[in-house]
Symmetry: C2
Subunit: 598 residues, 2 copies
């Protein structure tokens, strides 16, 4: 289907917005009036620019409070409308959006509204323009889609139809099933936006918190199915007002927006995306470090053994259990110290996973052809982390491990069985984008978002995982722009005996994050423990959590550059990530000064 | 009255919070449990630190969902409570806050709640602790203050009283008059917070948007009057949850917080603040510039004449009408180019105005004793701008103008009559603080806050003015931290003929900000103009606005460093600041590239 986006959904000048929409691959745009008014380009120039960029101008929305008003007011409105129809002719836009009136002058009189809309449509038709009438969720008298449609039906003019908007319909809790009663050729336009479920007044919710489909909690796909059953074949157009998007770079935001429409079309059986390939585990994580000694010392203390050396690059493979860490000291070593630069995901079909990622607009990284002629499929995640789709040591498929010359050392039994989860910090502007990426591209299930109090601001965290928990990723975002540069990411290692693992780590020279005694005093007040148990936890800095299913015991290493490790024991089907302990952990890390890059 | 603040209202580690509260001058603190749990200090050490800082520990709040629950659950709660009472003894806190239960287990049974609270109070009394029971606005069964009080009354134990919280009471719309029915000795504690009026669910509103009294829209002073009539003489304690405050520096936030309590006490006839001295005009603005030529050229083109030279410093006085600009090229000239560094306010009592500012914790600047022995009273505004309280050329009072040696040149009639308003950019974290400063310290009236769309994010703006409009200040804040360094401030000059003033400026070599033709096309659709009028506006970049009272016509000069000028014609009692034209102006400034510092 054709895709479109409202210029208000992107940041920058009108030229920047149009360029970003075209580069992402949109077919058309809705031009928001304020963007036109603030542009130094004349309407004809905007029309040419759109044509050059391969964009159609699908909608213009310059009118408010048109209908249901006293006759003298309506006369003024018609005069204004004619003026705007001329602008639209210069702009090359043939559909005008008219939202239901919010004017205090508006009367609760459907017949009057229908009469005036018909008059408006007659005038529009003279200019070759169609009028799409939409119910705003906070319209004064008309605020449901079926009410707007009844008025359109009564007005009965070929140049008058309705515009449906997923936000306005779903935010009101209207049943979208009734959409199917509208003839498809009277649905002149379809605007799509999602939103997180927040209890606040609908105007504020709409103006500040709309997100792209799939990023929120509304059933936009369900609504789209009803619309398609009417026979509607116009564009799917995104109209999203969001305080964060207003500050985000237009280019990545436009890509994110288009991705949301591709996933949405797939959800309703339209479009032709390669099928999702759900990862089955974490093949490896890659740390890039300018200074190999501290990183090697940390891995050694954690029980990792250096089992391989890359045949062509300064990269070592460290292993224990199913956990593998690549330590890269090559030219990619960045100035900002040790970072988690790449993640390998075990995939049943690496090439298929990469094809899907590419179809969903993830930047495909140049295929690394290794010394052993192994091709690796990789894409960039929104935060810049490289994601490799791997088939580790599987017959018939190339394995990334073939690139590594064994050192001869074997990883012994250490009590670490693999990766429990990865905690990745996201750029502030791209938290919602990252969510869509992890669901749509990687096929992970999304869990709820939680707020975590850091001593210097609120952080948000949201987990994504496969149904079996083989891959778990916790995305975090700090309180403001730029914060991602000061907060560390971490790798949680799974163990079935965190006490022993922590003791072994410390005995091997590792430093565990110290946790305040007050925390343990509170644990004692909240739960029962065996004699000596809490003392052991306190000695090792082990934190404790419990949910309806089981328990979670976890502790943290010191931080190296922007990375630290967690030792995590997950028992009896505990489903969380210890989020309720995060404030204590964050405060301890601030206190130790170890979070800062070094 | 004694003042207190909850540690959750400030950012940082517990030590940072306590230090900030003490330095600002608070008498005590409420310790939030999470701050204690995350602190490496033992309760005894926190107690010592508070004592050293001169702070009492007025409240601890470690308990949730205590009352109205099944017997086995209550037994566990009592056990937990005893544990916490021991912590409180170590901490030196004698009052514990118990908020009404939100547990799904809680029963709607006042007798049960009263019985269990009495049991809790009996146990607390053994530890010398008092229990203050508070109705949360979202409590499951108990969510109004009078309901909480009925339960306390029924429980009838000397160690049990109630805690009143302005947010919870006013947010529910409860009538605070009934507070007077509670005996003062049963009001164990008073928590104060304000909030902007937002329609959203009360939990979210409370957790993210509370502000200090006087920064929001609730009648906190009215509530306090009722509380004082009960005979309550405990502390006034601030408990404010706010996403922005969590990121702000603790020191300035604590000062801001205490200032809010000083103004609040004044409002109810408590405390002894010097009386407000409302300014009667703008005496001068001072630009600091590293490069005198472009600034002098801009002032000359605007019609200013250099009328004086400071006797001791490289500062020139430029005048026209009642508008005066000081041009400072001394060592204070900052690296970031031309800035608006100081404002002189005409004051009926400069020394009194400075005394009030000092009593309200504004940093008093070292008194400048000039060559002519003129003492200037000055304080620093929250954004660092220096504010001088002036008595310009008034008999019997020292005048700052005495410092200036006349050049002999006289300012001729130029059509500029004075300053219409000043537009000052505030640091992101201090917008609410700046609001309190302009109301409380300067005695200006606050107008509503408006959102303004900038191409790269939403900006907020709020106007403050004297009743007669002699002093008008528009405070603006950008979409995120750091933004204040990239946005310019401006000085709006008043004229009764903006067209002539703009023409004269341009003829004298000044550059006016160009405004897109689309803007004028839209004006034509919205209003009627005389023939040629709009063409004149477009030629000169004059913007137009109209409110219920009158009209506003205004245009902008190019930007010099971080400062530009506006020419403003305000007719027939127009009350605004042209905010609806701000998006067009901001887009034009981004487009011209002239906003960046040079």
């Amino acid at each position: 289907m054709r895709t479109s986006i409202a210029t208000v959904s992107l940041s920058g000048s009108l030229t920047e917005k149009l360029t970003a929409a075209a580069r992402a691959g949109f077919d058309g745009v809705e031009i928001f009036e304020n963007d036109l008014l603030a542009s130094p380009l004349a309407p004809e120039e905007i029309r040419s620019l759109c044509a050059d960029l391969g964009l159609t101008v699908d909608l213009y929305q310059p009118m408010r409070d048109i209908e249901g008003v006293p006759a003298d007011e309506f006369a003024r409105n018609l005069r204004r409308a004619e003026h705007k129809f001329r602008v639209m002719q210069r702009l090359g836009a043939d559909t005008v959006l008219v939202c239901s009136s919010v004017s205090p002058l508006a009367e609760d009189d459907d017949a009057l509204a229908a009469y005036q809309l018909r008059r408006l449509a007659e005038r529009a038709a003279d200019f070759g323009i169609r009028v799409a009438y939409e119910a705003l969720a906070w319209g004064r008298h008309v605020n449901t889609y079926d009410h707007a449609w009844r008025i359109v039906e009564a007005a009965d003019h070929p140049a008058l139809g309705t515009c449906l908007d997923s936000f306005h319909i779903l935010a009101r809790g209207s049943d979208p099933k009734g959409i199917e009663d509208i003839p498809g050729d009277k649905v002149f336009f379809l605007q799509l936006a999602d939103a997180p479920l927040l209890s606040m007044d609908v105007l504020r919710w709409s103006r500040h918190h709309r997100v792209f489909p799939g990023q929120g909690d509304l059933d936009v796909a369900g609504l789209l199915r009803h619309v398609l059953r009417t026979g509607y074949r116009g564009p799917l157009s995104l109209e999203v007002f969001n305080d964060v998007f207003r500050q985000a770079e237009a280019g990545p935001a436009a890509v994110d927006a288009l991705r949301s429409l591709l996933v949405l079309q797939e959800a309703v059986g339209e479009g032709e995306l390669p099928r999702p390939v759900v990862p089955t585990g974490v093949a490896f994580t890659e740390l890039v470090t300018p200074d190999v000694e501290p990183a090697a010392a940390l891995l050694t203390a954690l029980g990792f053994t250096r089992t391989g050396r890359h045949r062509g690059k300064p990269v070592d493979l460290w292993e224990q259990g199913a956990a593998r860490v690549l330590l890269n000291t090559g030219p990619a070593a960045r100035r900002d110290g040790t970072v988690l630069a790449a993640v390998g995901l075990e995939s049943p079909d690496p090439a298929g996973a990469a094809r899907r990622a590419e179809a969903l607009l993830a930047p495909v990284l140049p295929r690394r052809r290794t010394t052993g002629d192994v091709l690796l499929d990789a894409v960039a995640a929104p935060n810049g982390t490289e994601l490799f789709f791997c088939a580790t040591d599987r017959p018939g498929l190339p394995s990334w491990t073939a690139d590594f010359e064994p050192t001869g050392d074997q990883a012994g039994p250490t009590g670490i069985s693999g990766i429990d989860h990865l905690a990745l910090t996201q750029p502030w502007h791209q938290f919602d984008e990252a969510a869509l990426f992890h669901r749509g591209v990687l096929g992970l299930d999304a869990h709820g978002s939680v707020d975590v109090a850091d001593p210097y601001g609120l952080r948000r965290s949201r987990a994504f995982a496969t149904a079996d928990g083989a891959v778990r990723v916790a995305l975090g975002v700090g309180p403001g722009p730029g914060d991602e540069h000061t907060h560390a990411q971490h790798i949680a290692l799974a163990t079935d005996d965190v006490v022993t693992a922590a003791r072994r780590f410390r005995a091997a020279g590792g430093q565990l994050l110290a946790v305040p005694g007050n925390y343990y005093d509170d644990l004692a007040a909240r739960h029962s423990f065996a004699p000596g148990e809490l003392e052991t936890y306190q000695e090792l800095g082990i934190l404790y959590d419990r949910d309806a299913h089981g328990t979670f015991r976890h502790c943290y290493t010191h931080t190296l550059g922007r990375v630290f490790f967690e030792l995590a024991q997950r028992d009896d089907g505990y489903r969380g990530y210890g989020a309720q302990n995060a404030p204590v952990r964050l405060a301890a890390q601030h206190g130790s000064g170890s979070v800062a890059a070094r």
